[in-house]
Each structure stands twice: as C-alpha cells, then as structure tokens.
Symmetry: C2
Subunit: 362 residues, 2 copies
Amino acid sequence: LSEKHRFYAYNSSVHKFVRNLITEWRRLDLPFAGETIVVAVSGGADSLSLLLAVSDLQIRKKLDLRIVAAHFNHKLRGRESDADEEFVKQVVSERKLEFALGHGPIEQAGNLEQNARDARYAFLAEIAANLRAGYVLTAHTMNDQAETFLLNLIRGSGFDGLSGMRPVRDLGSGGVQEVGMGHDSSTPLLLHSPTLLARPLLRWAKREDTENFCHESGVEFRYDTMNEDMSFKRVRVRQMLLPILKEFNPNIVETLANTADLMQQRSEPRVRGQEAGGQSTAVPDEPLIRDLKVLEPAILQETLRSWLKSRRGTLRSIGLKHIEAIERLILSTKSGRIVELPGFGRVRRHDGRLRFENIKVD
Amino acid sequence: LSEKHRFYAYNSSVHKFVRNLITEWRRLDLPFAGETIVVAVSGGADSLSLLLAVSDLQIRKKLDLRIVAAHFNHKLRGRESDADEEFVKQVVSERKLEFALGHGPIEQAGNLEQNARDARYAFLAEIAANLRAGYVLTAHTMNDQAETFLLNLIRGSGFDGLSGMRPVRDLGSGGVQEVGMGHDSSTPLLLHSPTLLARPLLRWAKREDTENFCHESGVEFRYDTMNEDMSFKRVRVRQMLLPILKEFNPNIVETLANTADLMQQRSEPRVRGQEAGGQSTAVPDEPLIRDLKVLEPAILQETLRSWLKSRRGTLRSIGLKHIEAIERLILSTKSGRIVELPGFGRVRRHDGRLRFENIKVD
C-alpha cells in the first residue's frame, strides 16, 4: 500500500469513531442500503471525518448506498477556497465516491455569514432533489450544538432555541418536487417528499474526536481561517466564553449539548410539527390583541415567537428584545404602532389585531 | 422631619419600586390583611429594599399585616456580623416593626455556605411556625435568578435546575405543626399547614433597583464581604462570567431570569408537586434496571434525577457526571457496582434494581 492509502480503514479493527457513527446511524434510523445520500464536505475536520467514516462503512459492506460528497465553494477566500475545493475533490476521488460541486459568488449585502449558509443549503437541497436523495448529512458536532445553545441563550431565544439543532429535520423546500399537473392545469400538483437533513455526529462527537479520527486516518484536514474571525459572534463564543465556562466545568461542551438534548425531549410535539411543516401552529395569521393580552407572560412570549416564525418563515435575528417590543405593542393603548424587525419584516398593531408585514428591501 | 426620616416614604408619590412590588404582590396572591408575614433581612440592599417597601405599603394602608423582620446573625464575620445585626435592629425599630433574631455559630465541617443557609432557613421556618405566619418573604432578585440559572446550567442540573427559583414555594418542614393526637395515641396527628416562601422581587427587580431604592429612601445598606470571596462559585459567576456575557447582551440578567421563568411555565405539574411534597414521583423506591434501560437517554436522566431527589431528599451537589455514572451502572453488565455521591449517599446496583443507600459519615 502507498503511504496515501495506509489510513486505518484498511486495518482489521473498526475505529471507535466509526463504531459510534454506526450506533447513531441505527438510532436515527438512517438508511443502510438501496438509497442515495448526500454528504456535505467543506474540507474541515468535522465534515472530512464524517465522509471518511461513511466511506469506511461502505468499504466494510456495513452500508450499501449511493454516496455523493457535495462541496460548496463560497469563493469568499480566493485561492484558499479553491484549494479547499481541490483538496476535497482529491479525497473524494481517492475513496472512489461521487462528487457534486456548487459555487458562489455569495451575495455581499447584509449578513455575509447568513448569505453563505443560505446559498450552501440551497445547493444541498437542489443536489438532493436532483438525485432523489432521502438524506443530506452534515457534520455538526457537540461543540457546534454547545455554541448554538449559548448563542440562543444569550439572545434570549426561548424554548425552541435552547433545544438547539435537532439530529434529524426536514431540509425544507428542496424536498418539494413537482411531479405532475393537477386537474386545474394552472396549478402544479406538488408531492411533498421531504429530503431530511441528518446530523449523525451531533449527539456524541466532539471537535477533538473528528480531528483525531482524521489524523489516525492519515488525512490532513483543511482549516477555515474564518473560524478565527472574532467579528463572528460564534467565534467569540468559542474563543472567549467557552474557555471561561470550562474553568467551572471541564466537560461543559457535553453538558450544554446534553442540555439541548434534554430540551428537545421536553418540547411538545407541536414544536416538532412546526419545524417540519411550518404551518401546524394554532395561532391565527392576524391574532386578536385581546386574545393575546390574557396570556401568562412566558406563554405570550412563546406564542409570539411561534406566530412570528409562521408568518416570517424564520426567527433568524429575533431576540428577546424584539419579542418584548411586540409585547409592549400589545399592552400599549395607542393604536397603529409598529415594531421594525432586524433583517426584514415588521409587526403592526392594526384594528385590534397583530399583523406581520414583509417589506424586504433589496 | 429629622434627616433620618426624610426617606421618600413620607412623600406623597409612590416610588416605582413600591408600585412594582404591589403589582407582583397581587400576581403572587400574597395576603393584604389579617395575616402575619416574616420578612428575612440580612441588612444588604436587596432585603433592606424589600423591608422598606413593605413598611411603606403598610404606612400607606395598602397592607394591614403583622410584619416581623427576621435577622439571622451567622457569627461568621465577628464584629461585622454583630454590626449588621445592630444596623437591622435600628432600621426595624425606626419603622416600628417587630423583630426576630436568630444566631449561629454555624457548623464548620463540610460546605460552610450550605450550612449557613440551612441554619438560616431552619430559623425562618421556626419563627414562621411559632407566629403561625403564612409567608416568609426573601428578597431574591433577577440577578440571583440569573446566577442560579448559570450555576445550574454549568453543573448540568437538568430541566428543574434551569427553572431556577420559583416565586412561591413550600418552605418545608417548618410548616408541619403538631396539633393533636390521633386514635392510636402513639401516632401524633399532623396537620400539614404549609408556610410558603415567597420571593416578590424575583421576577422584576435587579440589584441596581434595590440599591437605588435604598439610596432614594435615605438608608445606607450593609455590604457582605463574603460577596467578594472568589472561593464561592456564585461569586465567580457574578464577577467573571456575567461580565463576559454582558458583552454579548447588555440585558443578559433579564434574559436569563426570563429564560428560567419560561422553563417554569414549561415544567410539568408533577415537578411542582415534587418540589412541594417531595413524594409525588411515580418512580419506585428501588426501580428495576430493565425498566430504566428502555428509556430514552434524556428521559432516563430526568427519571434518575427525580428518583434520586425523592430517595436522597435533595439533588444538592449532584451534577451531570453523577447522573451519567448511574447511567453506566444501569448499562453495565456487571452486578454489585456502586456510585458514590458527593456529600452523602451512594447508589448500588443490586438484584436487578437500583438502591439508594445513605451512609452519612459525620
């Protein structure tokens, strides 16, 4: 064997990382054979370790799937971005897997980080739809979960936010496929066959585990210099907040990820329904102020979040202060008042009701 | 009026602090007349502001209660402790309120902070029982709630811990009064007439509000030097962790206190029942391992916490790592294994069941 191929996969024993992955695979009820899965690969340790482990399971005949590695080149870091692409391409071809490539440029106006994520997920959804893949796999770890939990906690995002990321969720619009025409030929008949987003590392893998597995597989992973950019709140949480928390509890990452998991178990079925379908909420499109006024404060806040999510499509950028501003709108005696929301949209008090207005300015 | 009496209470307008207190008083359904309440007063800004505001409401005839200010001298700081006592006595006598005094010394072995709290609460419960007071009031603020939330989050205390302190709860054994003998003369008939612990500042007052109200009332409050002692985890949370969190969100104290409140609204009735009675859990005294094994991980953890609380009496010092150790006990194939718990008690796997053993060593 060449140096390049002396990664552990050809050894006889199954690496602990791979054993943990297959255990979680069963728990999440992911497919073992006869289906197509898309694995999102940036080239960093997390996504690379997932790809290597999935590939190993395929080689060992534990899996019999069509595996497509999907890389999105954001074109945000010039040569560095292109080098990432080349690197992923090479690893994928060495493992004899299929490769799908998407690329930027990314919309520069607004929140760049968010625009990049939107473009990446749109690409993954499109690839999955084209391939009729049932699953897109991303390599989020317990560290990502802990950071998400803290970001949501700091923002005051309420119960759903503290539930963090779910190990399996609907990928969204990418799963809606046009399959034919209905009786009224002006209305296409849409069959909702959702592609699911699965995060099989989320509940057990830490960043050091993915790095170790790459090392022990003999593969050098790529570093994303944006992970060091302190202008990103997530980076500040990782570099400033988590080290302080670690002084109190050395296992803080597991503790926070576990807490998010606990919240998920406690969240009511309607929350899951909302996340998957977005429409199962009982709050009317334009709720009556007088119905809202009688709610307990914490219940009111959750109701407002739920309503806003269903009307606005997302709670992105919405923090406690915005929910509280809407509360003041409800409790105020003046009519015709407005709360402007960050990013896009606003809430108007009108005719005894709350109304969401989307006045997206490009 | 002498300088001493030019505090705002004799002015015509009601201070915002007092208005907020009476609003919360109604919300918590606290008594307005014909009852006795005990107000715990250390001499710090929080408890002093509560006493001053309650006294103001009495002067304004909004309240018509027997008000007893209760001070516990821990005798932990020598002359400083005695000066606190003298100071509280003077404020109380100026307001023509009744005064109850308890004092140490506190048991030095073990957790001093915890021993002091236990002695203080035992004193408050005893005073309340003697006076047949329905309520003991303590002056915990949103800051205390935020700190408690963070301490519990860091420890990995599960759902109940993240609910933080409740604005009203049973004070405990102090409310059980022996009122006569039953048919079997060897068994005293106990009437459970609980004294409630109420925290009427918890949901709206911040530390700066209590300090401002004292200043504006013309009363100098006392500082407890133990609040600066970084050997206490709570002090480190206040001095090290919260300032970092404030860089992310200037309103972090409100946000965290609000989150705890949200958790309380979400917690199931059984949790409240457990807190009040301690016995309403459905988990058997010695649960079968095989019944526990089938539970979802997060549900198992909550079940174990609930069981441990009912058997051990308290979850004090119990963190995620201890619950996880018990989980490993359940999942292990070896029998006769033991998990030692911090402070006191241990859990044994025996005969297919979990058993709690209390082997308190003095």
